[in-house]
Amino acid sequence: MSERSDENLKGVPMKRYDLVREGLIVFGVTFVLVVVLSIVFSSPDYPTVKAQDVANDQPVAFLQTSANILAGNSSIQTYGPPYTNDTGNAQNLVGIAPATVMGVTDPINPPEDFVIKPLEKAAVINPGITSALSTFQAASSDQQQTWLKNYLAALDQATTDSTGKVSLPGGDYGPVEAMMNGMLALGKSGLLEGALNNSSQLPFNTDFTNALLFFEDDVYHSVAEKLDMLGSLWGISNETGQYPGAWWLWPYTFFYQIPPMNSSPNGDLQVVAIISVVFLITLFTPFVPILNRIPKWIKIYKWIWRDWYKNNKAG
């Protein structure tokens, strides 16, 4: 043994041991356990929620999402860094807002990036959208909001026939109805995600930020609610179906369940701060008073080393 081990283990009775043998046995058992679990339970793979599915199955929800984004009602509209300049909305702790340090690195203008630009692309193959877009863009902001408000109110009374066609009561929607029908057609075609994901390196793209943010509000939340995956239901530590999820994140998601984090606009930052402190305490447990004495008080070590204590009364 090394000089260090000779010193550490001086006077300690030794027994025969085979590290490689023990390692192979444990690996074999672990391998068999994993194979059996995989055969019996497989693994979760709930399909993605596509814009096409939403457009076909929930056309009104699709139209509400699109119209709300165009009206500036999406959660990204005033999110703050890294998407928008609304630094006042960046989460802060005692006045410090870490998100503002690097500021806006992924600028997003939801009405423009999520609705107008995709419609401009759609207009190339569906020229009927062009005049509606021009009318909308030429109108004053107040006029645009009036049309959108009327349209969103009308969507609450919309009817959908068996073919998925959405009918609205009569009203002053200006070009908004034609624009939204254009968005719905884009969604049904399966081209919306492609229209949302801009990449300077097309056809290559690995960043799906815009496509994911498009439905992140009501549509994703309604799916998550059905699958018991909302933040108030321990969120990302859950898995679809009856599978164990990321249960090791329970301490993290726990803090989202209690006040003030469960209702604070700064809840995420508060939880991150708390869990960072918890992690630091874990790392430096050997030096944390009281915590580092707990093992000697609770004496579970006596059970772990019971044979040693039984055979070496003097310790």
């Binding site: 090394s2 283990l9 998100a99």
Partner: protein, 202 residues
């Protein structure tokens, strides 16, 4: 200065072949509590093996191939075993006060490996390219953005997430775990808490 001789001397002092691959062990190393670290290590090996197979076939292979589905399931259950093992390992080492005798750095490095492991797990969920990835990406972004790191790590950028998950983070974990094991073998297993000293303190 002869670097080779320096390394020889360091190994002679700190880690002989008998330390690295022991054929003898202190008699107090006689409990199931010692198995959790080995189980964690075995699960890590399983994760790397199944991860390499999945990397060979690409990130969406498992959605449409029965073989891919099975390898993905093995990866999924290996993660469960890995975290069960590492958490039990940490709990038992805590109750053994295993940081005694200058081993606090071993505890610290193990804790760091646990932290990096949790982040690797998150990137794994984000890399699945299914509903879980969609939901977790949009949910987890808020914490990243609030903490001011969303500008560096975008949960919705699959390219970044996948590269972190299959290259950077496993490399960091392997380095931390490798050093953790080196520390364990170098310092020998921590001795049982002296019983008589305990009594004299009361």
């Amino acid at each position: 200065m002869n670097l080779t001789r320096g390394i020889q001397n360091s190994l002679k002092k700190n880690l002989s072949l008998e330390d690295a691959l022991p054929t003898r062990m202190p008699i107090y190393v006689n409990s199931m509590a010692y198995l959790f670290g080995v189980i964690t290590l075995c699960a890590l090996v399983m994760l790397i093996l199944t991860g390499v197979v999945m990397a060979l076939f690409g990130p969406t292979w498992y959605h449409f191939s029965p073989a891919g589905r099975f390898v993905n399931s093995m990866h999924f259950w290996s993660v469960q075993v890995f975290f069960a093992g590492i958490i039990m390992h940490m709990i038992t080492k805590f109750f053994m006060a295993a940081w005694r005798g200058g081993r606090w750095i071993t505890w610290l490095v193990g804790g760091l490996a646990f932290g990096v492991g949790m982040f690797t797990g998150l990137t794994g969920f984000l890399s699945q390219t299914n509903w879980d990835s969609q939901w977790i990406a949009t949910q987890a972004k808020d914490a990243m953005n609030a903490a001011g790191i969303g500008q560096l790590f975008n949960t919705m950028n699959l390219g970044q997430v996948l590269m972190l998950h299959i290259v950077v983070l496993p490399l960091v974990i392997c380095i931390l775990v490798g050093y953790h094991i080196y520390q364990i073998r170098r310092d020998s297993p921590v001795k049982p808490i002296p019983e008589d000293k305990e009594k004299s303190k009361k």
